[in-house]
Amino acid sequence: MLKVKNKKVVSEIARTTYRANKKRNFLMVFAIFLTTFLIAIVLALGVSYWNTVSERQIRMQGMDYDIELSEPRDDQIEKIRSMDNVEYVGVAVKCAMIEQYQDKSLDKTRLYWLDETCWERQTIPALEGYEGKYPQDENEIMLSKYTLKAMGIPKPEIGMKLPVTYFTLEESSDEELLKKEFTLCGWYTDYSGSHRGYVSKDFFGKTGVKQTDFTQGALKITLKNPLYSEKDITAMQNEINMDQNQYIDADTDTISNFCKIVIGLVVMLLMIFVSGYLFIYNTLYISVSKDIRYYGQLKTVGMTSVQLKRMVYQQAVWNAVAGIPLGLAAAFMIAKIVIPQLLQIINPVFSASDVVSAKIWVFLTAGCFAFFTNWISCQKPAKMVGECSPIEALRYTACTCRKNNYKREGGGVYSMALQNMFRDKKQAVVILTSFTIAISIFLVVNVIIHENDAKRILNETYTYDMQFKNETTLDDDKKQIITEDRISQIEQINGVKNVRKVTSAEVVVPYQEEVYGEYYKELYQSRYSPGNYEEDMELYQKEPENAYFTSRFISVDEEGFGLLNESIGNTLDKKAFEDGKIAVAVKFLSFMEGDYGIPGKTIRFSLPDGKEPAEEYSIQIAAAVDNRSNPAVFAGGITPDLIVSEKYAKKLMGELFTELIDVQYEDAFSKGTEEKVKAVFGDEQQISHESKLERYADMKNSETTVKVLGNSIGFIIAMLAVLNYLNMMAAGVQNRSKEFATLESIGMTTKQAKKMLRMEGIGYAVISTIISFIVGLPISYAVFDAMNLYRISFSVPWGSNLILLGVTLVLCMVVPVFIYQKTQNASIIKRLQNGDTI
Amino acid sequence: MDRYIVLVAVILAGCVIVCVLLKRYYQNRMEAVYQVMLQKLDKAIRGEVQDTVYDESMEAAVVERLNRVVQISGMNQGRAEQERDMIKSLISDVSHQVRTPVTNIMLYAGLLQEQDLDRDSMRLADKIQKQSDKLDFFMKELVKSSYAEQEMIAIHPEKTCVEEILNTACQMVELAAIKKKINIVLEEMGAYCFADKKWTTEALGNVLDNAVKYSPENSNITVSVILYESFVCIQVKDQGIGIREEEQGMVFERFYRSKDVSSEPGFGIGLYLAREVLSKQNGYVKIKSEIGKGTTVQLYLSRYEV
């Protein structure tokens, strides 16, 4: 059946209608633009992050693999290869080091042997490109372009002869230098920036290095699923029966971080989607409600439901066509500039050049997504239009009057405000939702900004404002550069609060198994075991003054003691410490938990640089602390350092050697004070310093970026919410134009009407704030947890949150009143007559 | 530093809130006092004397003054009522006193007429008879009209059956109607209204009386009941001489008689009475008429509790 030719007419009417509604169209286009823009940005962000993460490891290693097992045994290799979750494995062994090429001294160029799998499947994909082939013969070599350039060969050729001086990494070789002439059989370019080369199996065999040699051999494992968890790693560990020294290098952090980021992005995307949907839906709903009479008229003239629906859709399409490309274009431009910055913030391990920007398909997806949102939002309003009956449409008032089942005798301004808030349930829900989302996002953003506040981070991680270190402390010819004179100079500077002095000296601790026995056992069993337990202990007993076994005798002043005591929960007896009855031992490695039964024991020691070098002293150890509590920075041997009071140290040492001072300012980050303090040491070459202020300057950058970015995103979403609110309020006020006129006629003053509207606004603000706090605070904690890189404590940024609430409240109050003022100006009669069409 | 700022801000906010609350509290107290005063004033307007508490509060002083005001107006009212009572009793007395002589005059005039008289004397006797009749009639109307003073009509509306009113009122004029061979058509309908049965019947009686008086012989008078949502309308339609348009408002006036009806006896208070009675029980009267074509009088009675 051929249909009547009225498509054109319908389009014409649609076009006329469209053009007549400029204001509404502008709003819609703007909403679509914003939504598209946000979706595109977020998607691009997500994709970039994914890409960057996966690329990063490849580039850093110069190889494409997931995890690595050090010093693999053959049986382990077999077992792992046969594991279900393993795709393939490759072996790489570092076997030699090139020292010189011809006469040129080279910067540690490492030579590796890679097995076939490793080369073909794991290395090649990671290279930008390569020429030639993998070395087969014993004298063939493949080098990185970077290395060749360092060697002074900018234009390499296959078959070139390269005479080099090298040494093998065989354990007993003792780095004996050997000469050899290699033939260049190929070169490659990668991003690792490291000096590397590859050799043949034969050469590898000749070096005598074994794949199970410490730090030389590695098994590069590519998993089927690149997203692995710590459980997977542990399972693998258990299966393969690892040796003492072996470990599996897996970057569990990145993976879990990645998951958290993805979840975060998905949630954001959802929120943006909902915000955008709500806004577009609402705008359409309101505009359709306004025009329903118009559509009703069209119906009385003879337009069918189908045609009317098509009209609505057509107008939506035109809006989309205008808004989406704009959004995409804006997103694309911003993405180029902003995303690298953003990723660096999230994970400072990335550098700007690491980031891979998103491809075109991302933007296309965003565009489709926005279009889809638009389409869905149209469904309900179009349905409404299609189903309206002509007569009803002519008398339509968008109000659902509910049945009143209970006997109410209210009726003041407040009561009316409360009723009006919920008269149109749908609108109320829409407004509350979009506000809640916006406020929640701001809460999260606030927390992120607060947590990234450089000053705060620094204040929590640094116990000093400036630290001066005497770099000659461990030298045989150490010089007392940090003199008492200088210290008092600093102390006298106006802005300086106090100076903590830390001295140290070498201390010889005879082998005392009863004190440190357990500690040493643990140490030698750990990954960082210095060697063979029995042998070393024998040596220790024979030569306690061996540098391997001596440690530092550290003294702290009163302030320093305070800090030290605080770090272990104030358990130390100050008097006893001052008098030299107790000391604090410092565990060698920071991951060593527990105190190994050390506290309470008495330790004997002697001070070779003290007043009586031969004298043996003894002191009781009150506590064994982590290295983090150790104020000194220079380390001794494997024996724990001893911290005593300055008084006691002076008694034993006579003159104390100050290894460092910690300076605290009255006002942290005070530039003036810093300059004066720095001037005290002038340009003493052997004094190094670490300044909180300088660190702050570095961090300021990223902090600003976070603030800007976070606030921008929050702002955009807030704008959507505000626009929504504005729109709804405007529609609401205009819909109620007749009601307002009635109220005015029976005696409601403008002041009272405005008060009512203000109450409604406050009501919305309060409710959405409460909901968003209930929803938003847990989310912000989760986000904080995911992004907590500096391990600082969680605190709610009440200040900025209160500001947020204040702004929301003010906004909600001002907007309806403003709209009322702008629109309800005609005389009462006109408004009563015109009803809802003003 | 930040902590201090927040602390100060919180304290300031706290102070502001306390101030606002205090202000509100006092405002509410003031409002409550005014509301109480307004209530007392309303009571005084209604004429109620209120209990005074003899303490030193301002409230008691105000109530005392209000009571005095009520008393004074009560006194004035009382005086007016006294005067009215005086007039009422005067009229009652006079009419009573006059009754006897008038009755006597009528008796003797009648006796005189029965005597054998010459023609001239007969005429004179007739005239005396007629005048004494008139006198009698006027006296009766005077008594009636003395009751027509507004304050003397005490209306006690209650739920009444309309039928009863109709029947009683029709009975009142049956005799006169039969004399003129006028047919009274009663269209009954069971309905209830809120009205004072006695006075409403009296009012309806007056209306029917007029209808009979001003209708020609052998005509119909239709009495019907029309039900509205808030009113019951008793409609009396006659085919009489009608009322001129310019006079339609004036017939409700006290003692108003149109020139067209000067031949009929009447005092001109029937409709006035009807209007007063009806308006006291939340009803009203309407007249539709065209000169020469008859009159329709509609009495509206309230269906709601009055």
Partner: protein, 231 residues
Amino acid sequence: MNILTTENLKKHYDMGEIQVKALDGINLFVREGEFLAIVGTSGSGKSTLLHMLGGLDIPTSGRVVVDGKDISKMAKDELTIFRRRKIGFVFQNYNLLPLMNVYENIVLPIKLDGLKPDQDYVEQIITLLGLKEKKYAMPGQLSGGQQQRVALARALATKPAIILADEPTGNLDSRTSQDVLGLMKTTGQRFGQTIVMITHNDEIAQMAERIIRLEDGKICGGGDRYAESEE
């Protein structure tokens, strides 16, 4: 005692080149307690006159004095409050607030004034207008006549100096119209309320005690139905 007077009241509208004279010098006197009807055809200016009387619109020239106060010079909010306390309105399309029940609609003007309603009085009005059963119903559940009765109750609630009714029976059928008009008359009598009603229907006007006829913005006739002269 005149509760409402106008002095040479004029209202002009400028529509481009043409000047429309809606009211052309009206001198009106309304006595306290009377039921006045203003009759006129469409375009005669009767609606405009009513709006002037109620302070809903501002005259071009002339004065409107309600209960001794010149309202043509008042500021917007002052006028609104005056209107709230002194003037009651009954509109053709009832104009009840759809979200409030009957009782709340009636006491709304009182509440707006911040006062507590005189419960006895309100109950009286509700009973007299036959709304007792519907006290807590919503306007959407009422018939046209009932809604207009609620509007009337609302107008009476504040015991205003004057009630202005704009074609109060315009949306009602003839029977309901009779009803509503009857109630207006009786409650007006009962409470001594002054009522000014405008209508284009002569028959409806007959319910009033006095009729004034408007044509082309001028009073052109009508008079007392009861022969008491215009002052």
